[in-house]
């Protein structure tokens, strides 16, 4: 194994150590880890980090069911100006 930090979430610089620490503190399900560490909440929305976290949970015997966090829209980040709609557009 290499030395130095093992980054799990590149968006928010969350390390494997941070995840392990959160699990030890009782934030031991994927939804709680998400909120406590911020991992999966950056611009990638979990695309690059979710599986790493699930692996850590499994390794620590905490993976009760194989599920990710609830995936929220939008699937990819959308600029606010693209959401303005057409002028005069109503419901």
């Amino acid at each position: 194994m290499g030395k130095g930090k093992k980054i799990v979430c590149f968006c928010h610089d969350v390390t494997e150590e941070d995840i392990v620490e959160a699990i030890k503190m009782g934030y031991d399900d994927i939804e709680s880890i998400k909120r406590f560490t911020g991992a999966t909440t950056g611009p990638c929305q979990g695309k690059s980090c979710m599986m790493h976290i699930l692996r850590i949970l499994r390794r620590m015997g905490k993976l009760k069911e194989a599920k990710t966090t609830v995936i929220r829209p939008p699937i990819d980040p959308v600029p606010m100006e693209a959401l303005l709609g057409d002028e005069g557009e109503e419901d």
Binding site: H12, R35, P43, R72, M80, E81, G85, D91
Partner: protein, 364 residues
């Protein structure tokens, strides 16, 4: 299965349930908190985090004012950072009707808790705001933004330090009086408690109805979104009560906000384009710089409401069963004060006069 014995049980581990458990533990008792899903599942974890010290209803306003003071002291008391930032809440009206309603509302608030800002003053204080359409503006400078989950985590940490316990996922299925104790059926088995406090948001109604207690709670769903982070620029929380718009920037730099509501539903999976559009339009109208920000995530946030607009706090018609719910969308502001007062009520039997208007018995 063996029935586990416990002292005081708390149902629901949002900021309120955790706060109640903390205040019970602080008074020397051992709380056991049941969480059905994960910490802050229904409201706390979905809340924007605005802390206000005012409210239209004078009874709620007393609690809110006290809640704001306690939020200031909370990080010291709990020994953990709740990320409370008192950069003020800027309340704006953009139409004449909105201005009229806002003026009337602020007239009822204690002088000194807010100031009126002219358009020029807004422009010079907050150069990133587009003031062209602003008809009226008030600044409540002691109010601000807190990280809702950091409040919950702070309480939880303190609960555990003081010897309390939290179990999850442990949905409470029913509560039944048994002699001078209460039998609690949960997904993790049966428990026997001396007292129970229900702080389960909109789900409190169903649980209490099994005990013959009817609290006319209705869920109300609101939507929220968060953008990618950008350099901190937006100090105060901006709110436009006329449309329900709230925009703020978190300590992490994300712009977070809400507008309107989805109506009376507790469906947490709803997310609408209409919300995204309305938010984009109204937020960019006031803060043009957010135009280019990317929306990362949108979600639904469910609060529990009552017909008279007041929360429900106190002992129910069933002895030793207490409730704290019906906190509408101002629950987070009240958490420190409500949890403190209900802690005293449950442990010492002392009912603070501030709680009188919120008695569960008012629904007959």
């Amino acid at each position: 299965m063996k029935v586990k014995k416990t002292d005081i049980a708390v149902v629901g581990c949002g900021a309120l349930g955790a706060g109640i458990a903390y205040n019970i533990a602080k008074l020397g008792r051992k709380p056991l908190v049941f969480e059905a899903k994960y910490f802050g599942y229904g409201s706390t974890g979905r809340d924007i985090g605005v802390v206000r010290g005012r409210h239209r209803d004078p009874d709620v306003a007393k609690l809110a004012s006290e809640g704001l003071k306690l939020h200031e002291k909370l990080p010291d008391e709990l020994g953990s950072n709740t990320l409370f930032r008192q950069d003020g809440v800027l309340t704006v009206a953009l139409t004449s009707e909105e201005a009229e309603a806002l003026e009337k509302e602020f007239k009822s608030y204690a002088s000194g808790s807010f100031i009126e800002l002219s358009r020029d003053e807004v422009r010079s204080r907050y150069p990133y705001l587009r003031v062209d359409d602003v008809k009226l503006c008030y600044l409540s400078s002691r109010e601000g933004l807190v990280h809702p989950l950091a409040v919950l985590w702070g309480y939880l940490d303190a609960v555990r330090r003081l010897g309390g316990e939290v179990v999850k996922p442990a949905e409470v299925i029913s509560i039944e009086p048994k002699g001078d104790k209460l039998n609690i059926k949960t997904a993790l088995g049966e428990y026997e408690a001396s007292k129970v406090v229900v702080a389960a948001g909109f789900r409190s109604r169903e649980l209490l109805s099994k005990l013959g207690i009817d609290i006319p709670l209705e869920p109300l769903a609101k939507e929220a979104l968060v953008t990618e982070p950008m350099k901190p620029f937006l100090d105060p929380v901006i709110e436009r009560p006329g449309t329900g718009l709230v925009v703020a920037q978190t300590m992490r730099g994300e712009v977070i906000g809400t507008v309107g509501s989805l109506g009376k539903t507790s469906d947490l999976t709803l997310s609408s384009y209409r919300f995204l559009r309305d938010f984009a339009r109204q937020a960019t109208q006031l803060i043009p710089a957010v135009r280019s920000l990317k929306v990362l995530r949108q979600w639904t946030w469910v609060v529990d409401t009552t017909p008279d607009g007041k929360p429900v706090i106190g002992e129910t018609s069933v002895n030793r069963v207490y409730v704290a719910c019906g906190m509408h969308d101002y629950g987070l502001s009240l958490v420190p004060v409500v949890s403190k007062l209900i802690g005293r009520l449950v442990v010492e039997g002392v009912e603070d006069p501030m709680l009188k208007p919120f008695s569960p018995s008012r629904f007959g």
